[in-house]
Each structure stands twice: as structure tokens, then as C-alpha cells.
Amino acid sequence: MANQVTDNTFEADVLKCDLPVLVDFWAPWCGPCRAIAPVVEELAQEYAGQIHVVKMNVDENPNTPSKYGIRAIPTLILFQGGEVMEQVTGAVSKANLKQMISDKV
């Protein structure tokens, strides 16, 4: 299971993480977020040890999404060394996400 991060844990769990971190910004009522959820879980397993995969509920954590200008969900952002490396919005395919990760990691 991809761990949940919050506004409070974001800095430690994502920005200061030694590994690259893929953050899935989602909400429980968002259909496309539900559509992509199993893909995110599979990525977490397939890339275990290479990247961390975490999820942030935008309903419960308004500060971080607003800081990164997120105006649509699901949005997935790949962070490395505290910086945004890559960003994608919408229920994109697993192949697209793997491409995005392997281009950067």
C-alpha cells in the first residue's frame, strides 16, 4: 500500500526523502482518482527500493496542493531532492507513468 502523507509530514516524507517520491494527489469522491489507484499501487510495488510512492488526500490537506498550484485531480508529481521533476494530471495509463518515472530516475 502506498502510504498517506499530510501537510504536516510532507516536508519530511517527500521533500527531504533520499529517494525520489511520486505523490498521488487524490480525493475519495474523485472517479479518475479511483480509476488510477490500482495503477499507483502497482507502481509502488514495482519500483520498491527505487522510489517512494505516497498519496495525499487533497480534502484533508489543502496547503500542499495549493502550494503546487494543483487545480485538478488526480495529479501525480515526481519529486527529487525537494524539487518537482515531472507532473501529470488525469487518469493516464500505467505505461505513461512508467515512462515518466524511468525518464527521470
Partner: protein
């Protein structure tokens, strides 16, 4: 290589129904869906016209009920995207990004996807103000002014949904009258937050890091204007999803698959069901019927030919 009697490509309502009927008939199936099951239903807030749910039901709740039907069966679920179909006389080979399988019959249920407007700025501001899903993104525009583009059922329905959240909606429609259901038209025209701009098209999305406005053009007078808004929701129709179909599979001019009323396509053993078919009425209820019909005919084809 895995071999199936029938391979169902797509996990929306038609694919789920086709799977259900074939599994109940004891047929060995594979089921392909690149995301979670549900297709466009997952993008729909509420389904108000599916029989059995007189109070309406949320899109994802309906899909949970649909897929619960399949829980009692063991079958292969392939979470990947079909890339190519090859005809090998008595079977078809379907290639995915990470594997390849063989099947005697195919049921193509890849559905449809929201059409993009195709104007400058659309891709740049997608996810930064330009949206195709009011249910997903409406909340980010709470109390703000937005535009909706389109004039069919979806544009009207989504505008009504958004009017509960935003302060003002400009509904931009290229014609002088709506195409959507009268029920929605009446509600939209009565809604004090919705201002309809007829005979007008969007020509460009503009902004800085986020969307700040849309350039509009009046199709009657040719006059141009800039509308300042924070969000723009595009609801202008559907394109076929898939794109991997073999040349022998006959489609209409838009790329939707032609079938007869038994869901039979131009290729033997290949059936199509749901929104990917060339047809006028694209609804959950028609997709379900298509799925059952396709499964029934795939079963008959297997009995006759194998």
C-alpha cells in the same frame, strides 16, 4: 502464451456485462482494463437514468455494484493497454505493452473519451484551469467564476453541478440553441448563476502559470473578446478510445466501430459493444445491453466454429 476463448478489451459497463455473461456460460475469458474498472462512469457524478436506482446513484457506487457481480468468478484480469490486434486465421493475437495473449473471439469495449477543443493553450493549462471533469475539479473553483464550453447533455448537466460550487458560470455554446435534454435546458436557463453565451466559440486559453481567461469569437459577427475566468470546463463530445484497431475492422468516419444489431463487426469472431460502437445513443443502459448481446453472440460463434 495465454490463450482464451474470449478476450474482453475494456472494463466499462459493456465490458463488465460481457464478462458476466461469458463467465456464467463457463467460457474461459481474459479481461483487459488499463485502469480500475468503470470507464466514463467513474467520471460521472450521478447516474439518474439507470433503471433500479430511482433516487440516482453515484458513478463509482454503480460501478462497485457492477463489479461485485464478477467477484464470484476466477478469471484473468490484464491491467494493461492493448496496442495491436493480429489476425491468425483461427485466433487473434493481442499485444500489450508487457505481454501478448491469444483469443478465439474478441469483444472490443474500449469506449469513448472526452474530446479536446484543439485550440492553443489547451494542453498547457490542462490541470491548471482547463478541466474535462466537473466532479473532479469543481471544488478547486469554489466561489470563483468559470466557463463551460458545449451545448449537449453533458455540458448542461455539468454546468448545473458546478453552479452549486462556483459564483458564476459562462456557458459558451457555438449554436443558437442547445442540443441537450429539455429537462436540463429548462434548469440551466432558470439558474441565476449561469449566463449563456450563444453563437460563440473559444479560440484560445490564456494565462500565466494558471489559466486566467479565454479568447472568444462570435461566429455570427466575427467579433472577438476576452473572458476573464479562473477555470474552463470543456464538454464538447466524445472521440473513440482505442486506436489499435486493425485495418480490416470497419469504422465510421469518426473512428467508431461499425456493427450490426448483434454486435458483429466486419471481422469474424470480433464483436464490439458500448460507446466504441458507431451509434447515436451512448448511455450506461445501452452499453449494458450491448455487452450482453456481444457475449451471447460470441458464445454462439464459439459453439459453431470450435
Amino acid at each position: 502464451m495465454k490463450e482464451y476463448e474470449s478476450l474482453i478489451i475494456g472494463g466499462g459497463p459493456s465490458g463488465i456485462t460481457a464478462a458476466l455473461y461469458l463467465l456464467r456460460a463457463g467460457i474461459k475469458i481474459g479481461w483487459v482494463e488499463k485502469l480500475a474498472p468503470g470507464g466514463q462512469v467513474l467520471l460521472t457524478e450521478a447516474i439518474d437514468n439507470y433503471p433500479g436506482f430511482p433516487q440516482g446513484i453515484k458513478g463509482y457506487e454503480l460501478i462497485d455494484k457492477f463489479t461485485a457481480h464478477l467477484d464470484q468468478f476466477e478469471f484473468d484480469k490484464i491491467r494493461d493497454e492493448a496496442l495491436e490486434i493480429k489476425d491468425r486465421q483461427d485466433k487473434y493475437l493481442v499485444r500489450f505493452s508487457e505481454s501478448e495473449v491469444a483469443a478465439r473471439t474478441l469483444i472490443i469495449c474500449t469506449g469513448a473519451q472526452w474530446r479536446k477543443l484543439g485550440v492553443p493553450g489547451e494542453n498547457k493549462y490542462s490541470g491548471r484551469g482547463v478541466s474535462y471533469c466537473a466532479v473532479c475539479d469543481g471544488n478547486f473553483f469554489r466561489g470563483q467564476e468559470v466557463a463551460c464550453i458545449g451545448g449537449g447533455d453533458t455540458a448542461l448537466e455539468e454546468s448545473l453541478y458546478l453552479s452549486k460550487l462556483v459564483s458564476k458560470i459562462y456557458l459558451i455554446h457555438r449554436r443558437d440553441a442547445f442540443r441537450g435534454a429539455r429537462l436540463y435546458q429548462d434548469k440551466v436557463l432558470k439558474d441565476p448563476k449561469i449566463e449563456v453565451i450563444y453563437n460563440t466559440i473559444a479560440t484560445e486559453f490564456v494565462g500565466d502559470t494558471d489559466l486566467t481567461g479565454i479568447k472568444l469569437k462570435d461566429v455570427k459577427t466575427g467579433s472577438q473578446s476576452l473572458l476573464n475566468i479562473n477555470g474552463a470546463f470543456v464538454f464538447i463530445g466524445l472521440d473513440p478510445a482505442g486506436g489499435f484497431f486493425p485495418a480490416d475492422l470497419e469504422t465510421d468516419s469518426q473512428g467508431f466501430i461499425k456493427t450490426d444489431h448483434e454486435m458483429v463487426t466486419s471481422m469474424p469472431g470480433v464483436f464490439a459493444a458500448g460507446d466504441i460502437r458507431s451509434k447515436y445513443c451512448r448511455q450506461v443502459s445501452t452499453a449494458v445491453g450491448d455487452g450482453a448481446t456481444a457475449a451471447y453472440n460470441a458464445q454462439a460463434y464459439l459453439e459453431k466454429n470450435f
